[in-house]
């Protein structure tokens, strides 16, 4: 029995086109009796299809509670005037809307129902805009990160006593400003990254008894006082001397600690005051730590990020001893080799996600991965994996290394982009029946390995970038039943026609390719009469580089002539020896 089938069909029919909207829009001025979840579903669909315009907002005045317009540059005074009439608006997201300035905020002054306001990255908002926000007295969550508000404006925020969450990232918050915010005793979430606070300012954090989430990345703070309620702490890119040194009977039971890129004067001393029994997430990436013995005591770690750190095979033993509960381990861009995998194997029974991208492992590590029974996601991109090892003493006898991954029953996501695998070594991948996501990117893969992927029944996402895949190979491919996304970017032999016939035959599969983005751009320009113009910068080909197939420039006879001509470095000296086709190259129209 299809739940809500008719409701869904009605919403679809109402948002089908601008004409359908016109037909029902005039029936009544406002929809008081529409239940909120229906209004929300209809509004989102209209927004997604770019059918919204300011006067249409009037209809939703009494039935919408949440409006999300982030990234829409067309939101201006007219839109805000209608939004100001919303009676029950609880959450308004205008992040990144370039049209929002101080005067536009006047429309929402005094809105009693508004509890959540996000105007981050609206660069025209200054201290004058804060005056309007101050009248919204019930505000509980406010995000003004990366606007042009200064310390003076932030001091004025102390009148919003109901604030629970305050995001002041990227603003020049001084210690004095934090001092005046001490009346916000309900504050649970405070984001001060990139601000001007110092150690004196950090002492003031003790005035917030409920503070659970604190972000002081990119500041000058070295020492953090004891904050008993803290659960999440981000001190990335700071130079840390001590955390939670100070008076107080209760040590905070910190659950997440992010110190990406931080430098430590003395790691053991810095962590000595930390109550690490509950620490479950630890991010040490890009940090300059050379001794990881402090990890030994951390028994509850679930996520550990050591990417781009100084981790090597000799330093990994402490990780192995704490890794019983570990679920996510990131060792990318480190100097670890197979020896580390040997040390970790058997000690990580709960490990689900392992990232070894850009590390120095090779095919011999794969057999140790089979001793990690719960692995679901493996990232082996940009490593030296070839898919085969050689028997001892006999350099010609290849032993395929990828079949051992069959032993991992829960393996779902495998990333082999940028490795040295070839068609023959990828053939055994057809045996990994549980695979859902597979990412491949290599200049040397061809139709053969593409067709091996048909035998993976559960595959949802297949990335096959940069390969030598022909149109014939694509059209004769029988995709697995559940395939949803096919990423073929960088397959330079595929033409627009080949891709569109594949898309026509299998409309449920989303194909990504440079020529496909051009197709979507054409279609969206045809529908361009809608009021909310799509942000065209998002339609540029990903990766930013255009590629042209040089062969199109020449006719068949010219190409045959070119194959028999001497190489160009010989001809460099004497232009008269160039084949006729190359001499004319500048006159050709661009492909």
């Amino acid at each position: 029995m299809e739940e809500g089938g008719l409701v869904r069909r009605c919403i679809e029919a109402a948002a089908e086109s601008a004409k359908s909207v016109e037909k029902w829009r005039r029936q009544r001025r406002t929809l008081e009796r529409l239940p909120t979840q229906l209004a929300d579903a209809l509004f989102r669909l209209l927004h997604h299809r770019r059918l919204l315009y300011p006067s249409l907002l009037e209809i939703f005045q009494y039935c919408l509670e949440e409006v999300d317009f982030h990234g829409e540059n067309c939101i201006d005074a007219e839109w805000m005037a209608y939004l100001g009439g919303f009676r029950y608006l609880r959450a308004l997201n205008l992040a990144g809307c370039r049209g929002i300035n101080n005067s536009v905020l006047w429309s929402i002054t005094g809105m009693v129902s508004l509890k959540d306001l996000d105007i981050s990255r609206c660069s025209k908002i200054t201290d004058a805009g804060i005056e309007h926000i101050l009248s919204i007295s019930n505000l509980e969550r406010l995000c003004i990160s990366e606007t042009r508000v200064t310390s003076k404006g932030i001091i004025r925020l102390s009148s919003l006593v109901n604030l629970r969450s305050l995001d002041l990232g990227g603003l020049p918050v001084t210690d004095q400003a934090i001092d005046s915010l001490k009346v916000l005793v309900q504050l649970e979430y405070l984001d001060l990254w990139g601000s001007e606070i110092t150690n004196e300012g950090s002492l003031l954090f003790t005035r917030f008894p409920r503070l659970a989430h604190l972000n002081i990345a990119w500041t000058e703070v070295n020492c953090l006082p004891n904050l008993p309620s803290l659960i999440h702490l981000n001190m990335s890119n700071c130079s840390i001397h001590s955390i939670f040194q100070g008076h107080g009977p209760v040590k905070p039971s910190l659950s997440e600690l992010l110190v990406h890129g931080a430098t430590f004067a003395d790691v053991d001393q810095a962590f000595s005051y930390l109550n690490i029994d509950h620490l479950s997430v630890l991010d040490l990436s890009s940090s300059a730590i050379s001794d990881f013995n402090f990890l030994v005591r951390m028994r509850s770690l679930e996520r550990l990020d050591l990417s781009s750190s100084l981790m090597t095979d000799y330093l990994i033993t402490p990780v192995a001893s704490t890794a019983f509960k570990l679920r996510d381990l990131n060792l990318s861009n480190t100097k670890i080799t197979t020896q580390s995998m040997c040390i970790l194997a058997g000690k990580v029974p709960n490990l689900e996600k392992l990232s070894l991208s850009e590390s120095m492992i090779d095919d011999t590590s794969l057999q140790y991965l089979t001793l990690m029974p719960s692995l679901r996601t493996i990232d082996l991109s940009k490593t030296g994996i070839q898919g085969c090892t050689y028997a001892e003493g006999d350099r010609l006898a290849k032993i395929w290394s990828l079949p051992v991954l069959q032993n991992l029953d829960s393996l779902e996501i495998l990333n082999l982009e940028g490795t040295r695998v070839r068609d023959d070594s990828l053939h055994p991948l057809g045996l990994l029946k549980g695979l859902k996501h597979l990412y491949l990117k290599s200049d040397f893969l061809s139709d053969v390995s593409f067709h091996t992927m048909s035998s993976l029944p559960d595959l949802r996402v297949l990335g096959f970038q940069g390969a030598v895949l022909t149109n014939n190979g694509l059209l004769s491919f029988r995709p697995p039943e559940r395939l949803q996304v096919l990423d073929l970017r960088g397959c330079w032999l595929l033409s627009k026609d080949g891709i569109s016939s594949f898309c026509g035959a299998f409309p449920q599969i989303k194909v990504k390719h440079e020529s496909v983005q051009m197709l979507h751009l054409d279609q969206s320009q045809k529908l361009g009469s809608s009021k909310l113009k799509p942000d065209l910068t998002q339609c540029e080909p990903l990766g930013g580089h255009h590629f042209t197939d040089e062969r199109i420039k020449y006719s068949r006879e010219e190409l045959m002539e070119l194959t028999s001509s001497p190489p160009s470095d010989v001809l460099a000296g004497s232009l008269s020896l160039l084949p006729v086709a190359l001499k004319k190259a500048d006159d050709r129209p661009e492909a």
Binding site: M1, E2, E3, G4, G5, L6, V7, R9, C10, I11, A13, A14, E16, K19, S20, V21, K23, W24, Q27, L31, R33, L34, P35, L38, L42
Partner: protein
């Protein structure tokens, strides 16, 4: 066959007599008739909807029958590969099949034919459908 029908009454007092099976597409109506207790709806076999107008209720009854035809029947699914190769316009074909002792004549629309909803009634129909849990 009279016991297998229910009567739906609109705001203006129009009475729609439809199969019980069709009415059960709506979760609300199904709950009304299957819940224990001696409700007047169950006894008399009729439900009044003082907030749903006549054209909307008519459309809803059409939806019930449409839903019965296409959302559950297995035979159109078997025939749909054949349907997809034929002309794209909506058509009706008659399929005769025998099931045990009966010889049944059934009408099937092509699987692609959607339930068309006029834009003017979408809002009211949406609210009524939400109330009826269909």
């Amino acid at each position: 066959m009279e016991e297998d029908t229910v009567k739906l009454i609109s705001a203006e007092g129009f009475e729609f007599v439809i199969d019980k099976k069709a009415a059960m597409v709506s979760q609300t109506i199904r709950n009304m008739f299957t819940s224990p207790g001696n409700f007047s709806e169950t006894r008399l076999g009729e439900v009044t909807f003082p907030e749903i107008s006549t054209p909307i209720l008519e459309k809803i009854c059409q939806y019930f029958y449409w839903h019965l035809q296409f959302a559950r029947c297995a035979i159109p699914c078997i025939l749909s590969p054949i349907c997809q190769r034929l002309r794209p316009q909506t058509f009706m074909f008659i399929c005769i099949y025998s099931s045990r002792e009966n010889l049944c004549l059934s009408f099937y629309f092509r699987k692609e034919s959607e339930f068309h909803i006029e834009p003017e009634i979408t809002l009211e129909l949406m609210m009524a459908a939400n109330y009826l849990h269909t």
